[in-house]
Assembly symmetry: C2
Homo-oligomer: 348 residues x 2
DNA sequence: TTTAGCACTCCTTTTCCCGGAGTGCTAAAG
DNA sequence: CTTTAGCACTCCGGGAAAAGGAGTGCTAAA
């Protein structure tokens, strides 16, 4: 059976009322909501159809109807009106985007808190690299005969450095040569390639130098690996406790510890700039009873971030989606500005 | 009235039973626990005394007794037997101390998770610096005429670096002079002193150089300030939900959001290596109904860390205290090892 | 000082009952 | 064929009452 316009409208009303009240909604209330143009009996007939078609559910006979995941899906795909944010709201988003630029992971934490506060649900934020990171340049600075400083510039123009402590004394005048070696053989390659080369030069250099090189390479590998990891940060998990569906401590606990622990398992890959996953559409068991709205943003050219919101299936999808995409756009813009300066050559 | 030995023993039994069951404990149960040497009626008389003296409380007449904060305090101070950890337990602690040494804040996060898992309560970890941090040495490396790398070694032998982008072109051969300037005037001083000096040299150097210097100083100030901040990280907050006293979602929510937000307000300063704060002894309103066990550990010579556990007043103080101090000692040892190498001059 | 006995208190759980909201069906009306 | 009114029926939720039980406090005797 095709969905008549009236059925669609009824479904819409049901979803929106249920989202608001968290109570099953009855035929009378729907009739009222629709302006009294039809009677509750008519609505009842339609409801019965919609239930049969799987868009609505009843907790028990003689209770009102609530949307099934399928119903939410239809609502999100076709019925939901994209919500325009008020000026005040946009302003609020921009304000929460006044993030202090520090280390990436702190920034993520700030962003997570901001989003969570904005939508009043728990949120998570992550960033991951699109392309492989490599070292572009090495430098070695002498401190004394047992210590020197390793400075590396990575392919994304970030600089990292570390104090190297040497087991064997090294003549400070040897350092430039060592740096040259590093620059000629260990740049623009992944950690695997580095240790490869390290083996190759093992018997061509003095033992002191070799120790130094291997320390340098191991630090470089650490840096590259760590930067390559996807960093996930969650915020606002305790907001769950405010929701009637998580009044049950066990349920709340399950989801909250999932959020706290799962660094990898949160909904991640996605094709469109924003995706909505409703209840059982989630792969992870712990999220089967919840919905997730997740959007992506760009960090410069070479990293991508995810920003997601977790809530009950009864979620105000329109509101969350609007705010989330606003925030994601803001983040992209923010990082765009930051990144504009660095690796490019000229600017007028 | 003085506390007879028997009263003390009864108090001990009450505390321990209540900790175990979270239910008010009655005279009969106590009599049984004490081996049946006295009857429940006798116990009742004693209980009545203890209640009058403020060591015990009754939720209502005709309910069993539970310890008051005063009762817990006496228990902790005098009755509690320091718990010896089993070998297996010690092993477990050492195992969770296999923390991967990364950035300090990640290490804290790891430690927090480990402690929380160990004691099964939420935990928090922090680190703060005892002495003022300064820059010991600056270096500047040329990248191209508009970019150079600033490398700083701080007074705790950590190395930090940053890419500086210059508005005005600077001749790379000027950099050593600039570095000299930095080293002679901006080392071993706090951020305040730095900007002071910056003003002084303003009209003695070229504008290009001045811009460069001010960028360097501002980065240095950032680094020093950030490193000086006390970093707090919480873990395992969701464990609260498992406890009967936080079955009530509102109560749980209050405490959990407090834990999530309060970076500064968690019990901190302390005189002894370990402190136990019971219920109302906590200053913060949100902690009035909870107890906190907090221990300190050393990070090298110049930083100190705090590690705390938050739980209901009905907490197994002996167990938590034993594990926590074990963990704190382990951390001190861990950092001791790490720090042994660096700033010292010679080693045999 | 300890103990047994007993009445009494107060919480908790269970049961029962009732009201209300909502459905589904039928039959009549448009 | 669709819409509507009417009505019996279902089921939940809340409240009152009842039953049960754990524990106390007191008294009187050992």
């Amino acid at each position: 059976m095709e969905l008549s316009d009236r059925k669609r409208q009824i479904l819409k009303v049901v979803v929106e009322a249920y989202v608001r009240t968290a109570e099953p909604v009855g035929s009378k209330a729907i009739a009222a909501e629709m302006g009294g143009s039809v009677s509750s009996a008519t609505i009842r007939n339609e409801l019965s159809d919609l239930t049969e078609m799987g868009y609505l559910e009843q907790p028990h006979t003689s209770a009102g109807r609530m949307p099934s995941p399928k119903g939410y899906r239809l609502y999100v795909n076709e019925l939901m009106e994209a919500q325009r944010l008020s000026l005040a709201e946009t302003e609020k988003i921009n304000q929460s985007l006044q993030l202090k630029m520090e280390e990436l992971d702190r920034l993520l934490a700030q962003a997570g808190r901001a989003v969570s506060a904005l939508v009043r649900y728990p949120a998570y934020v992550s960033a991951s690299r699109k392309t492989e990171l490599t070292v572009r340049r090495f430098e070695l600075l002498a401190v004394d005969e047992r210590n020197c400083i390793l400075v590396m510039m990575t392919s994304d123009s970030k600089v990292k450095s570390q104090l190297l402590r040497m087991q064997l004394k090294v003549d400070p005048t040897d350092l430039p040569a060592a740096a040259n070696l590093l620059n000629s053989h260990f740049t623009n390659t992944d950690p695997g390639g580095m240790s490869q080369h390290l083996m190759n030069v093992a018997d061509q250099v003095s033992p002191q130098l070799f120790l130094l090189l291997s320390q340098a390479v191991s630090f470089a590998a650490d840096v590259l690996e760590e930067a390559g990891q996807r960093e996930i940060v969650t915020a606002g998990a305790s907001r769950l406790l405010k929701l009637p569906e998580f009044r049950d401590a066990d349920k709340a606990h399950e989801l909250m510890s999932f959020l706290a622990d799962s660094k990898e398992d949160l909904p991640q890959p996605m094709h469109r700039p924003m995706e909505i996953l409703i209840g059982p559409e989630n792969v992870k068991e712990a999220l089967k009873d919840t919905s997730v709205v997740v959007a992506s943003y760009d960090i410069g050219d070479d990293m991508r971030g995810l920003i997601g919101v977790v809530g009950p299936t009864r979620m105000d999808y329109a509101a969350v989606a609007a705010r989330l995409s606003g925030f994601a756009e803001g983040l992209t813009r923010l990082f765009g500005k930051q990144e504009e300066l660095p690796p490019k050559e000229e600017r007028k």
